[in-house]
Amino acid sequence: MTNQPAMVIVGAGQCGARAAHALRENGWKGGITLLGNEGVAPYDRPPLSKAVLLGQKTTGECTLYDEAFYREQRIDLRTDASVERIDRAARQVVLQSGYAIAYHRLLIATGAAPRKLTVPGATLAGVYYLRTVADAGYIAEELQPGRTIAVIGAGFIGLEIAATAIARGCNVVVIEAASRALIRAVPEIVAAHLVERHRQMGVDIRFAVQVDHIVGRDRVTGVKLSDGGSIPCDCVIAGIGVKPRTELAEAAGIDVADGIAVDDTLRTNDPHVFAAGDVCSFPHRLFRRRMRLECWKNAEDHARIVARNMLDRGETYSEVPWFWSDQYDMTIQIAGMPAFSVSTVVRETGTTSRVFFALDRDGVLVGASGVGNASEIARDVRVAQALIARRACVEPALLADRSAKLKPLLAAEVS
């Protein structure tokens, strides 16, 4: 057994760590090598923008598994291993140190990296991006009461940071180049509902305006906008999207299409190499297109399936995407792909809680977005998630009627 090549996982994030665990759960007895380069054991990222920045949770508390777990499961975790290249002909990965590790199957779970600002002043001290525990540590230091924080980008990361900064007593200005928030994620009506809440909480959100440059000598003192306006601020936090970390795959001649292109079993064009999580783009049976998702649930679901397929189970992936965010006392849950819809039906599930059902041109439910109190939105979003999996057509009037229970629709669909 010692001579048998290991399962090698490049990328020790949530997806990589969970896949390592799942390989063991599915009976793999050989070696497992998990390669990361953040210097810390795999951790959960969702709390970084919320509980960690609020000071309610330490970064140490985000760790996925303790040291004993890796020892007991015989997972060789290396947290300072930078991979230089993948040698597909020899079926090995070569580290920057020159050390080579042979693989039986290789999983690339390198995730994504924040897009960087390219405007003048972008490299000044006081400009941050949030992706890692280290980033969260720096940003938490900056969120002192009374300071002014300029958030660039009104996507989920930007809005979560804005909500957290408000809770910490900061002044917050959000600058978004597009005409509205969350343009890639949800229909306008959903974004507007959320933005209204941010404005009530005191966030100054500005749309359709770009950053011309960042002002400061050694350190940020403000942001100059394309419309001529200036925003004096103490720091800048940019959440302007991420780029899949495909460099290793590309250099090795593995197909890339937005992310690393995999089939519906998460296998690349090399049968010994798989990719999963934020880094890969995969064909989705339900939506009949290739997509790449950047969220916890996808990384979690991919990890489970890819581990089984590295063991040649040949299972296809067709989970309905599901995503959550927490802002102020609101939970946001999104099932499916609301952005693929042509119309939206609103269900008022509480005083300020709403579930927005997204229908495509054939009336098929393709997404649902819940915004508000978890107890007033979660069940409806959950039922929608199951209906989306069945490509169900649901009567809009029924969806809009808050007194109509939706769960019985699941039974009806089965029979």
Partner: protein, 114 residues
């Protein structure tokens, strides 16, 4: 109605018909909050709050014999409280349940353990 036996206090949580099949309701008693379930195998009860973050499991979704948390879709096995799906990883406390005369009774600790 309340009956005490073996350090357990049996309290009426609801009528059997108050819970739909494959569903869950919230029951609050003496400062504690519980989730009471009805599944194919019968009635069960657990702590109401998820062991991960602040969310009430009665707002969750019953799938076969598992309860899925409304906040992050972590799952527990209803009869045993065993964590079945991340992000939950801490066991959920369960409580004995009896059905008598169309009522669901919950066995809660008779007094605070000291």
């Amino acid at each position: 109605m309340t009956v005490e036996t073996n350090n357990l206090k049996w309290v009426v949580a609801c009528a059997t018909g108050d819970i739909d099949e494959e569903d869950v309701i919230r029951f609050d008693h003496a400062g504690a909050s519980y989730a009471v379930y009805r599944i194919d195998e019968g009635f069960f009860a657990s702590d109401g709050w998820c062991t991960h973050e602040r969310a009430h499991l009665a707002d969750g979704f019953v799938v076969n014999r598992e309860i899925e948390c409304p906040l992050h879709q972590g799952r527990f096995d209803i009869p045993t409280g065993k964590p079945k799906s991340p992000p939950v990883c801490v066991h959920l406390k369960t409580y004995p349940v009896r059905v008598e005369n169309g009522e669901v009774l919950l066995g809660v600790p008779a007094k605070d353990p000291s």
